[in-house]
Every structure is written in structure tokens, then in C-alpha cells.
């Protein structure tokens, strides 16, 4: 009797596990199935490097969107990475533990703010400022980069903080015992030790910025054009998918899946690099 119960439990769990994994596999396979054939139908070169996006006329060049995504993400990291890493270092090394205990959860809680709220503030507060001080429509690469940079701050700070906190205290004590100031111990020893974790945090944040949709749609302007200056409006890959989705049929729909594949692949590669950077640090210990 008992054996039957055991076998039922084991096989039920196996079924559950396989269903879960199957559904995860489903989404990966589905996207690839819808997107990859398209890339061969239209030609990878035309798809990725043509600036002619006109689904009605059968033109599917996403080059402007690729450039837009790259500029916006890069810009976001220019803002988010230094601020985030600086914050992580400062909080871990120069701030008493009691203050840290309040600030760190605050920052993590702030990571839960929905992206649409960021986007809204970008529209209401940031874009007008850009319009007045720098010209252009306000909804621009710059606006998107700033908003995204702020959005990824919690990610960079929290993962970098973990990396820095994981540096053994003996390193710090060793440096200080040799007569180094706090700052010297930080930039000569600790940052080096936490380097892979910090880099991982930046890479993961990059993946998040690349995948962000709602905030970007609200502040980036959504024009299909290769930007000449930071105040030009642009449309990122993610925005493109969202904006075209409702009306897309047939080949146009496949084009969106193909865009999804491009994003999918790039972000998976980024995450894999970041995860292996973290793992190699753990192994080095």
C-alpha cells in the first residue's frame, strides 16, 4: 500500500516537472518557429541592416530600431552604471551598518515601481525639461536613456552590493593593517576582488534596459529614424514589437517574432555572460 503511494507521488511530481519545463520550452520553441523562418525568407542582411521599415509594403528593415536600442541602452548604462556602482561602494564601505539596513531595502523596494510610472514621469517632467533646455520634441534618446538609467539603478546597486559585501573582511583588514586609508583599501583591493560581480550587475542591468518596453514607448518618441543627436526621437526594438503587434498579420507578424528572436538571443547571451562571471568568482574562492 505504502509503495503505491510512493510511486504515485514520484510519478505525479515527475509529470508536474515535465509539464512546467515543457511550457517553458514551448515559449522558446514557438518564438523561434515563428521568427527564424522569416529571417531566411526576407534575408538576414535586409532584416538587420536595412533602414526601410514599411510592413504594408513588405519592407522589414529594423536597422533604425537596432541602433535606437543600442543607443538607449548604452546611454542608460552611462548613467546607471557609475551611479549604481558608486552607490554600492559608498553604502558598503563608508556608511555605518545601521544606515545601510534602512537604505538598502528602500532601494530594493523602489525596484518594484512599475515601469509605466517611470515612463509617465518621463513624459510629464523630464521631456518638457529637455524640450526647453535642449530643443527637439523632448521625447528622445536622451529622455529614454535617463529614465532607463534610473530604472536599472536598483539592479546595479543590489547586485554590486552583494559582490562587494562578499569580499572577505580579511582583505579589508589586511589592507588597513598595511597602513592604507579606507579609500585605498577600496580601490586597490576590494573593487578588484568584487570586479566580476560588479561587471555581472552591469551586464544584467543592460539586459533589463534592452528589454524594457513601456517606459521607452512613453518617452522615446517612437519615430522610425536613425538618430542624429540625443534629442532625436527613436523607436527601439521592444517599442516596435508593442506598437505593431495589434495590426500585424502574416509576414508582418513573423517580422515581430523575428525581432523577438533577436532580442531573445542577445539578452540570453548577456545573461549567460553575467551568470558565468558570477559563477567563476564563486569558484575562484
Amino acid at each position: 500500500m505504502k509503495f503505491n503511494g510512493e510511486k504515485i507521488a514520484k510519478y505525479s511530481l515527475m509529470l508536474v516537472a515535465f509539464s512546467a519545463l515543457a511550457s517553458l520550452l514551448l515559449i522558446a520553441v514557438f518564438i523561434l518557429k515563428e521568427g527564424v523562418p522569416f529571417m531566411f525568407k526576407v534575408g538576414l542582411k535586409d532584416f538587420l541592416f536595412s533602414s526601410d521599415w514599411n510592413p504594408q509594403a513588405g519592407k522589414f528593415g529594423i536597422y533604425p530600431m537596432i541602433v535606437a536600442s543600442l543607443y538607449v541602452t548604452f546611454g542608460a548604462m552611462l548613467i546607471g552604471a557609475p551611479l549604481g556602482v558608486a552607490g554600492a561602494i559608498f553604502l558598503n564601505e563608508f556608511v555605518p551598518k545601521s544606515v545601510m539596513r534602512v537604505i538598502k531595502p528602500t532601494i530594493e523596494l523602489l525596484a518594484g515601481i512599475p515601469s509605466v510610472v517611470f515612463g509617465f514621469l518621463g513624459v510629464m517632467v523630464l521631456a518638457p525639461m529637455i524640450r526647453s533646455y535642449m530643443g527637439g520634441p523632448g521625447l528622445s534618446v536622451l529622455a529614454a536613456a535617463i529614465i532607463l538609467g534610473i530604472m536599472v539603478l536598483p539592479t546595479v546597486i543590489s547586485i554590486s552590493t552583494d559582490a562587494i559585501a562578499a569580499v572577505p573582511n580579511s582583505y579589508r583588514e589586511g589592507a588597513l593593517a598595511l597602513g592604507a586609508t579606507r579609500w585605498q583599501s577600496v580601490h586597490m583591493v576590494i573593487i578588484k576582488a568584487a570586479r566580476s560581480g560588479i561587471i555581472a550587475s552591469i551586464i544584467l542591468a543592460m539586459g533589463r534596459a534592452l528589454g524594457e518596453t513601456m517606459a521607452v514607448i512613453m518617452v522615446a518618441g517612437n519615430t522610425v529614424k536613425i538618430p542624429q543627436t540625443v534629442t532625436d526621437p527613436v523607436r527601439t526594438l521592444t517599442a516596435n514589437i508593442a506598437l505593431e503587434m495589434a495590426n500585424a498579420t502574416g509576414l508582418a507578424r513573423e517580422a515581430l517574432f523575428a525581432t523577438g528572436v533577436v532580442l531573445f538571443v542577445v539578452i540570453m547571451i548577456l545573461n549567460a555572460i553575467a551568470l558565468s562571471a558570477i559563477k567563476s568568482r564563486v569558484r575562484k574562492k
Binding site: 505504502k2 510512493e6 507521488a9 514520484k10 511530481l13 515527475m14 508536474v16 516537472a17 509539464s19 512546467a20 519545463l21 517553458l24 515559449i27 514557438f30 551611479l83 549604481g84 561602494i89 559608498f90 563608508f94 556608511v95 537604505i103 532601494i107 523596494l109 523602489l110 518594484g112 515601481i113 512599475p114 515601469s115 509605466v116 510610472v117 517611470f118 509617465f120 514621469l121 513624459v123 534610473i150 539603478l153 536598483p154 546597486i157 592604507a180 586609508t181 579609500w183 585605498q184 577600496v186 539586459g207 528589454g211 513601456m214 514607448i217 512613453m218 521592444t238 514589437i241 508593442a242 503587434m245 507578424r253 523577438g260 532580442l263 531573445f264 539578452i267 545573461n271 549567460a272 551568470l275
Partner: protein, 279 residues
């Protein structure tokens, strides 16, 4: 002339401190700004009455309902699937290439942008399976989105149960399933629940995947096949269609408070989990 290290330190700390201060100020400003413009519009009437005139008047009650029901459906699907998978992977299988690959795949999927889930959900559930824009389509899509997270946090919680407990249970004549049910899961539960609450917190703020699968109907849903509008979708529509800035801010305030609440509950639970372990 070499700058003395003490001075370098002062400069460095000043720069770092300013950066941190800036970060905190920005983040606090965002919350403060939204709450200050939004909270005045939030009252019992706002929360409990339905939107009127496309949201120009009235409240957000139906969207509140949508925001509660949608994650509920998602969790109802993802929780048993996720915890069951975690139990199977940690208790019934050995660490092999396959399990490592599976774990890597799950981790990778956790980083996929939500718009892609929205695209998938739209084409697969809404169109191909003809479920239409509905609680079900949205719930299934969200479930797949949070599944990797639930599997990962559940596995961690299960693994943190000391092996000695398992050994004792076995030595008293328990089978593996009995050990899982009576010793492992009860102990891993706080960690598992924390993971679920974090997933719910994420679902509340989720817009891209939801708008394309659950739709944006302002009516009260009567079944899982009805479309619903969540607060974040409502906020997005109010904001981008310029319907009402005032209502938009108020909705945003409620949104932010809900997310903060859920996250606080999750962290509170995690704290209890950690302190109980220490005992």
C-alpha cells in the same frame, strides 16, 4: 606633487557620497512626487467605485479587481507547477548534466523581456487557442513569466532545509514522499511563499505582457474568459491617451502603494524565515 592619500580619500568619499545621495534623492523624489500628486485623489470612493466615462470620472474598482484576480490566476497555475518541479528536482533526482542544463535554461528564461511574453501570449493564447483577451490568457502568460522565479526560489528554500532532518525522518521509517510532506515542505514554506509574493509584486506592475493578453475591458469580469483591466494598464491608458492626469496620478499612487505593500510583506516573511533558522 603627489596628493596625500588622506585628501584623495576625502575627494573620493565626496564623489561617491554625492552619487549615492543623488540616487537616493531621485528615487525618493519619484515616489514622493507621484504620491503627492496622486494621494489627494485617493479615497474610499475612488477605490470602490467603477471607472466612468473611460476613466475620466469615477474610481478604479474594476481595475483593482483585475489587479487582484490576474496574479491570482497566474499563481494558481504557477505555484503548484513551480513548487512541484522544485520538489522533484531537489528531492527525487540526482545532480546530472540534465538538471544543470534545466536550471541554466530556467535562469536564462527569467531574463526574457516581458514584451516577448506579451507577444507569445497574444499569438498563442489569444489568437491561436482562441481564448481571446481574457483573465485566462493573461493568467497563463503571467504564469509562464513567473514560473522560473518560483522554481528557483522554491528550490533554494528546499535545499536550505538541513539534511539531518531528512535523515532523521528516514531513520524513523518515513518514505521519501512522507519526508517531503512532513519535514521538508513545512520548513521550506516561508522561503517558498516569499518567492511567490515577490512574483505577485512583479505581476502587479506588469503592463506589457498584460495589455496584449488580458485586454483592457473596464467591466467587472464574470468568468475567466472575460477581459480585465489591471491598474497598471489603466494607468498607462489614462496617461498616454491624455484622459485625465488627475486620475492617472491617483491610480499611480495606488499602484505604488500596492507594490510596496506586497514587497514589504515578502521581506517581512523572509525575515521571519531567517530568524527562525537562527533559532
Amino acid at each position: 606633487m603627489r596628493i596625500p592619500p588622506k585628501i584623495t580619500q576625502v575627494i573620493a568619499v565626496a564623489i561617491l557620497g554625492t552619487a549615492t545621495f543623488l540616487t537616493v534623492v531621485i528615487l525618493v523624489f519619484i515616489i514622493g512626487f507621484v504620491l503627492s500628486k496622486g494621494l489627494p485623489g485617493v479615497n474610499a470612493e475612488f477605490l470602490l467605485s467603477a471607472p466612468k466615462d473611460m476613466g475620466r470620472a469615477g474610481g478604479i474598482f474594476t481595475t483593482l479587481v483585475g489587479t487582484v484576480l490576474l496574479p491570482l490566476v497566474a499563481v494558481a497555475i504557477a505555484f503548484p507547477l513551480g513548487v512541484g518541479t522544485a520538489v522533484y528536482l531537489s528531492e527525487y533526482t540526482r545532480e546530472t548534466q540534465l538538471t544543470r542544463a534545466l536550471r541554466f535554461g530556467t535562469d536564462c528564461l527569467a531574463g526574457i523581456p516581458s514584451i516577448i511574453f506579451g507577444l507569445f501570449g497574444f499569438i498563442f493564447f489569444v489568437v491561436m487557442l482562441k481564448m481571446g483577451w481574457s483573465l485566462l490568457s493573461g493568467g497563463l502568460t503571467l504564469a509562464i513569466m513567473v514560473l522560473p522565479t518560483i522554481i528557483r526560489t522554491s528550490e533554494e528554500a528546499i535545499r536550505s532545509v538541513p539534511n539531518s532532518y531528512r535523515e532523521v525522518s528516514f531513520s524513523l521509517g518515513a518514505t521519501r514522499w512522507e519526508t517531503v510532506l512532513k519535514v521538508v515542505l513545512p520548513n521550506a514554506l516561508p522561503g517558498i511563499v516569499t518567492g511567490v509574493m515577490l512574483a505577485i509584486g512583479r505581476s502587479i506592475g506588469e503592463t506589457a505582457a498584460v495589455i496584449f493578453t488580458a485586454g483592457s475591458s473596464l467591466r467587472m469580469p464574470s468568468s475567466v474568459f472575460d477581459s480585465v483591466r489591471t491598474m497598471s494598464v489603466h494607468f498607462y491608458i489614462l496617461a498616454t491617451e491624455g484622459i485625465s492626469d488627475e486620475k492617472a496620478y491617483a491610480t499611480a499612487a495606488v499602484l505604488i502603494l500596492s507594490v510596496l505593500l506586497v514587497n514589504l510583506a515578502a521581506y517581512g516573511m523572509m525575515h521571519r524565515f531567517i530568524s527562525r533558522r537562527a533559532r
